[in-house]
Amino acid sequence: MSKQTNGQSKGAPYVRIENVTRKFGDFVAVNDVSLEVQRGEIFCLLGGSGSGKTTLLRMLAGFETPTSGRIYIDGQDMSGIAPYDRPVNMMFQSYALFPHMTVEKNVAFGLEQERLTRDEVRRRVGEILDIVKMGQFLARKPHQLSGGQRQRVALARALVKRPKLLLLDEPLAALDRKLREHTQFELINIQEQLGVTFIVVTHDQEEAMTLSSRMGVMNQGQIVQVGTPTDIYEFPATRFVADFIGSVNMFEGKLVEDEPDYVRIRCEDFGGTVYVNHGISSAPGATVWVAVRPEKINIARHPPAPPAGVHQPGAGQGENVVRGTVKEIAYMGDMSIYLVQTESGKTVRVTMPNVARHTEDRITWDETVYVSWHAESPVVLTR
């Protein structure tokens, strides 16, 4: 996660998207989206295909015009301003390097519009290429570069004009796994070094979680939740977000006790009760969903002792624990994924790190096990 968290605002937000809608005929690609991005942030828009994230990005760049709503960058209304007049630069998914120009000419292209001397242009081109570590490739043409090299040139080209805002469209999608990890950290370093505000569009959660200081999850043209990666992962606002990021166990249930500092939910799903040690705002008897992340669940051959620190009447055994049979085990090396089927037929997904090297005593298929979690682990969702 990028270090610039806590969205330190210098007063007004740097990028303000105000009730922006984009329709293509009857199809609504972006539906009344409002968003604020602070200066110097790396903000990620995360969503699947068709979520509207790319359309929103293109509206920021100026390639699409909002059907309604406004976009402000550094306080300036961007309505009617063409892409070439905006203080925004974009790094395209396909990099879009000009094939008939050298690396140097590609990067210098944006500077030619500004009245700089030849020497000044050359200096700045050299400077930015050194930052992306492509300094020795000035005379190469794009087809003479590898994928990772082209990406860096595309980044340099977009940054050399020192834009107020840099838009990145799936920046790591075309790179292979190892390169992707390496580049993720490089991107963050460059951003911190230059202090440019980034808005990144991606469908890859890992990318979003690694890069962003804050992120927004988009679905069907709307922003579903905005927050830091921790917020989004640990405190998802809706079932969609909980399910979209990482994996999650979702239990449907009825709210039986609703107190300011705890709730109890009866889940027929797995035939047990969930006790959560914080209050939620909902009506008693309402249908809610309980989301528990696989890594927060413990798997053991014996049921756990009554949870410590729980002094509520009625609390005790049988809550936040379920008995089941191990149906599948996926050994991933650093951890194992267990799929446990409860007596009610529900499958619970549990991940456990493989702490011990020796395998004799490991839980294995068809064993009867108890899966349990701490009272503060579940997230209760009402929508």
Binding site: Y84, Q113, H143, S146, G148, Q149, A158
Partner: protein, 282 residues
Amino acid sequence: MKSHGLFSRVALVFGLVFLYVPILSMVVFSFNNSRLVTVWDSAHSPTLRWYQALISNEQILGAAWLSIKIAMIAASGAVVLGTLSGVALARFGAFRGRALLAGMTTAPLVMPEVITGLSLLLLFVALEQTIGWPKGGGAVTITLAHITFCMAYVTVVVQSRLVGFDESLEEAAMDLGARPVKVFFRITLPLIVPALVSGWLLAFTLSWDDLVISQFVAGPGSSTLPMVIFSKVRLGVSPDVNALATIMVMVVAAGITASSVWMRFQARRRERDMQLAAAANL
């Protein structure tokens, strides 16, 4: 699958033979000493006499020169206009009058030449009546006519090249601050040059080769090469025409071979570059 492939391959061979036998026969008989052209005079052949006759034939040389001049101007004009309309049709989306422009640029592709020729002549006559120009036709009217029907072909070539063109390159240029005109001249144009070149060559060939339209709109005193050839061959075969044909075939074959060798060379160099880049794999 095998027998099926065989049938089409036989057809291909037959078709190629069909295409080239007439050309080859013209070439062969251009060296035939006999005036009867197709009766081989083994005693005195092969000979270059028809080539010599060709070189000294003022009428043919003059007509050839006129045809070349007209074709060069017409091809250049057609490329300029065809590029403009190709860009408009490929990039401007829906605009008022789009159907009109699209229709006017595809109709000449299939329109019978007698109709085009007739209509253009009537236009020039009407113009002459109202504003006194052009006087009796001539090279100018032929050139204007050729530009008009050649630009349709260039439009199709340019338009289909632009439609397949990676628009993100143009967007990237605009994003970096370049105005649309600059984007066109610095980014789009350099990358579609091959299409423009082939468009120019296409227009040149069509103009150089045109008979019907030229016949309609030419005035007295301007005879293009096809017009001269046509009046000769209406009366039957003529050996110096064979010689002319051979020269043209040689020029075209040389040109095409040279260009495909050049393209092969370019492609191979690119591939080598890309392999080097992947191998370095930084």
